[in-house]
Structure formats: C-alpha cells, structure tokens
C-alpha cells in the first residue's frame, strides 16, 4: 500500500478500517463506541488539547463513517464541528515581514487605495476599502502580505463555506457541488464524507457468497494511478476476494458514453460533458443560464451499471472510485436503479486491510472490458481525445468537434462564463471539477506528478483495440 498524502487521510482510514472490521464481523452496534480505543490506545493526547476531545472527534468520525442515511439526507459532506480548529479568517494582512521599503509596490498595485504607511514606512491595509484581490500580496518582494483565509474556504471554489456563529466552518449545501476539495484540504480533518462502506459490506454478506444475487464491483480507471504497476493486478484480485462476484471496468461505461456523447454532439450546436457529476452540479447551481447545454448522456458509472443489470437483472452494483460526488450522483432518480452503493479508494483500502487480505500472496487479476480511450477518461483531456477517436472510427470528419478542456473549477468557471456569452471558442466543453481530472479526486490515496503517466500506461495496456470493439455487444443495452 502506498502511504497517504496526509496524516488526516491516515486517521480517516484507520477509523474506516475499524468500522469495516466491525461490519465484517456483524458487531457494529456493540463495537462502534469502542473504536476510539483502537485509534487512541493511550491516555496521552497526540493531536488535540486533550485525549477526551480526541476521543469525542473519533466518535464523530465513526458516526459519519457509518452514516449512509438517505432519509436525513443533507449532503455527503459534513463538518465535524468539534474538530474544526476555527482557523483565523482575517483575509489579507501585512505581516511582520514588511521591511518598510521605499518601493511601495503594494501601494501601486492596490486599485482601491487601501494601503497606507505608518511612521516606519510599514504598510497597513484599510479593511474597509480592501476587496481581497491579492494584488498587493503578489507584488511584495518580501512576501510580507499574507492571505489569512481558511484552507477549507480557499479550497472551495464555489464559495459554499462560511463561518457560523461559533466560528466553525459551515457548508451552504445550496452552493456545494460535492467536489470534496475541502475534505482533502482541511488540515484538521474536520470535514468528512459520509460513507456507504457498511452498506457495501452488508450487500456482499447478504448475497451469501453471490448465491442470492450477484454483487459486481465497477472500478474507476483512476485506480491505476493509486498502486504500483506490479501491485495493481493484486489489488484487483483483492477486491474480488472481498466477495465480489465479478469486476467490471467503469472505463467500459466511458467507451459507451463516448459514443453516445459524440452522437449527441453532432445534433447540437454546443455541448458540455456529463461524466463528472460535480461539473454538472456546478453548472446547475452556479451557471443555470447554460444548463441547456449539458449533455443528456448518462455518466460512465450509470451506463456500466445499466448494462450489468440488463445482463443480470438481480445484480447489485458497487462503484469504486476516487470521488465523493459519485455518492450523490448514485442517488439521483435516473441513476439509482443502476448503482447500489459507491465507495472510495480510501474506503476500499480500509476494507481490504480490515479483511486481512495479504496482497503479496495473490495471483494478479486483469480487467479487459475497455479500450485505451475509456481508460484515459481518468485524466483531463481523455474524454475529448476519445470523442475525436470515435469520429475517426465512424469515418466522420474529426473537425466536427472542437473541444475546450477545463480541469479544476477555476478553469471550468472561465469556460462557462465564455459559453454564457457565446464565446466558448469550441463546440464541446469537457469539464472536470478536480484539477487534472479524476486522478485529482479527493479520495485518492495519493496525488502525485506521475499519476497522469500511470493512466497513460494503463490505457496502453487495455485489451480492446478501440472504442467500438469495446462496446460492440453493449451498445443496444444502453437504450
């Protein structure tokens, strides 16, 4: 197993692993309140002011890790209020690094005349004039002007996070697009996603070794960026050993989505992609003017769930990916019939380790449902490349598509604003909420420079030669 990017992820993983162990041994209700003993074995505080607060926070994490309740459905992303460190929220401030220089670049850069100087020539920001543009900070040669904004607020590109009366972070769910950036960025792990790990484990157990119904795992291609190449096959085998009847590539759904989206594109003047649920949500909540351009093609997850359930109507489908927004997408009325649970790579790792599966002893498993083009959906630009390939395979003119690629909400915002004034500069907008695409997803175990290369390698090792060969038997099942 790769180490996690941060100790916050490690902490979350440890809690999830204890929860998975309890679920596997049917002792969740009796053991839930004792999880903190495994996480904090001594009486010495290592993370917070005292061990009692640490235990209380662990209990909150357990609550979220075991909470997949839809009745009280608010959002998959929740703030653990007692874990929020109530970080300072001053915005741009001049720090002691200001040397009182003569140049006064900050003053020149400020369009609002908010910068003044005291007797020692040190800069001050008049907060009544400051609009938090950050230009002064950019030009200071000593980096003396700092933005004291909360990491969660900085991470949230849709301004859904504010401070409540107790100074704890609060998410405005009417703005939130479930991208999960705050979950990954909060240095105290105070924002966490609810989990369907327990329902997924129970689905497997109740299937009685796949005799009552069969449970299929649909695995997102981003998994290739999460493990060493030689280890990937063993991870796939480990997923199967958790009790899944079969593994199917989400990339097969991506191949199908490519064909459907290309067909749709040819009938419309401009189309925005529909595979990233956060991007779709972003348009609906923040750019409703261009909502009419959203593709009606179901996401790869929904498509692959649909074809599995067409071939085996009693099947249960668990999607495994790096994404929190997929949890929410799976509950939409047009997706719900095809996906029974969604878990993340973090939750998968916790499950595998809770089941005590010894990776190194496993004979590698291979996936062969998809093409190169379906697999590279995991990185930004992959979908556009696939659409061009699809036109080529159908012997159509590739100049029929002029893709604009946006990865990360900042880029998506620029492209959508252009689209709203008919200046997109292309006829197909591929939008991904996470920077870099799914390989930048919030619930990847790690995020590394080489991830993109790993997806390229994984794509190259696909069994199917092209998009149409991958979907040849499934095209009709998507109707």
């Amino acid at each position: 197993m790769k180490p996690f990017d941060t100790k916050v992820q490690l902490l979350k993983y440890r809690v999830l692993k204890e929860v998975a162990k309890l679920a596997i041994h049917d002792s969740l209700s009796s053991g839930m309140l004792d999880v903190h003993k495994a996480i904090i074995p001594t009486n010495k505080a290592t993370m917070r002011c005292c061990v009692y607060k640490e235990r209380a926070i662990v209990n909150e994490r357990v609550k979220l890790a075991t909470n997949s309740s839809i009745e009280e459905f608010e959002s998959w992303i929740q703030v653990i209020k007692i874990a929020c460190d109530e970080c300072p929220v001053g915005g741009y401030e001049v720090t002691s690094g200001c040397r009182g220089c003569i140049a006064h670049r900050c003053e020149q850069a400020c369009k609002k005349n908010a910068i003044t100087f005291d007797n020692h020539q040190k800069a001050h920001i008049d907060k009544s004039k400051c609009i938090e543009c950050g230009l002064c900070s950019k030009v200071c040669p000593y980096n003396a002007i700092h933005n004291f904004k909360r990491p969660c607020e900085l991470a949230c590109k849709v301004n859904a996070i504010t401070m409540d009366a107790d100074k704890a972070a609060s998410i405005d769910h009417s703005k939130c697009i479930t991208c999960g950036a705050c979950v990954y960025q909060c240095p105290f792990g105070a924002i966490m996603d609810k989990s369907e790990l327990v329902p997924a484990i129970q689905l497997i157990k109740k299937s009685r070794y796949n005799t009552k119904y069969k449970v299929y795992a649909v695995v997102a291609p981003a998994i290739a960026s999460q493990y060493e190449r030689e280890e990937l096959g063993q991870i796939l085998k480990a997923i199967k050993n958790l009790g899944f009847y079969n593994l199917v590539e989400a990339a097969l759904g991506a191949d199908l989505a490519t064909v459907l989206e290309t067909e749709e594109l040819l009938t419309k003047p401009v189309l925005t992609s529909s595979c990233c649920p956060s991007f779709v949500e972003y348009i609906k909540k923040h750019h409703p003017k261009v909502e009419k351009h959203i593709s009606h093609t179901p996401s790869p997850m929904a498509l692959v769930g649909k074809i599995i359930k067409t071939s085996d109507p009693n099947a249960k489908v668990v999607f495994i990916g790096p994404c929190i927004a997929k949890k929410q997408e799976a509950k939409l009325s047009h997706v719900k019939p095809y996906v029974d649970a969604v878990i993340t790579f973090e939750e998968l790792q916790a499950w595998i380790d809770a089941a005590d599966i010894n990776l190194s002893s496993l004979v590698p498993e291979h996936l062969d449902n998809a093409s190169y083009f379906g697999r590279i959906f995991a990185k930004s630009g992959g979908l556009s490349k696939a659409v061009i390939q699809c036109l080529k395979e159908s012997e159509k003119d590739v100049s029929l598509v002029n893709p604009i690629i946006a990865s990360g909400i900042d880029q998506c915002k620029v492209a959508l604003l252009k689209l709203s004034v008919n200046k997109l500069g292309g006829n197909f907008l591929e939008g991904m909420a996470c920077s870099g695409g799914c390989i930048g997803g919030p619930c990847n175990l790690t995020h590394e420079e080489k991830d993109e290369k790993e997806i390229e390698w994984y794509g190259q090792s696909a069994y199917e030669q092209n998009i149409h060969s991958s979907i040849r038997l499934f095209r009709d099942d998507t109707q």
Partner: protein
Amino acid sequence: MIKIAVCVGSSCHLKGSYQTIDLLKQYIENHQYQSSIELRAAFCLGHCTDGISIKINDEIIHGVHKDNIHTSLIPVIERKIHAIYGK
C-alpha cells in the same frame, strides 16, 4: 424467444468470446433466426477455467471454443428451437 448470453468475463474473453459471438451471429443470420434468438453478452457465468461459458435461457454450457461450436453449442440451440418453434 431463446436468450443466448455469451460470457465476456476476463477468462472467456481471452479464449475468444467475441469470435464465438461472430460465428453465432453468422449462424443466426444464415438460418434467419433473428426473431427467435436474442444474442447478448454476460459479464461472468462462473465457469472460468473451462472454455467459454454460454447461457441458453437458463442452461449454462461451458467448454465452448470457436472450433467446437458446431458440436458443443449449435445442437443445444437447435434442440431448443425445435422444442419451441417445431422447426
């Protein structure tokens, strides 16, 4: 209607599911069975070690290869066609 599902799970796939499917399509066309046989894919039929698995209605036949479909598979299909349609 006879429903034929050919396994395209990893193991069967490598043994030539798709060639078998192409042969079956040819067979269906030659005999004009389009309205009596529905051909589709299945993800795994659970007999991974022994040739390609094919489900005909509720019966699973395994050990099929593209070279033996005329002895292993076609007779079963014909028996079913005969039982249902009498041809």
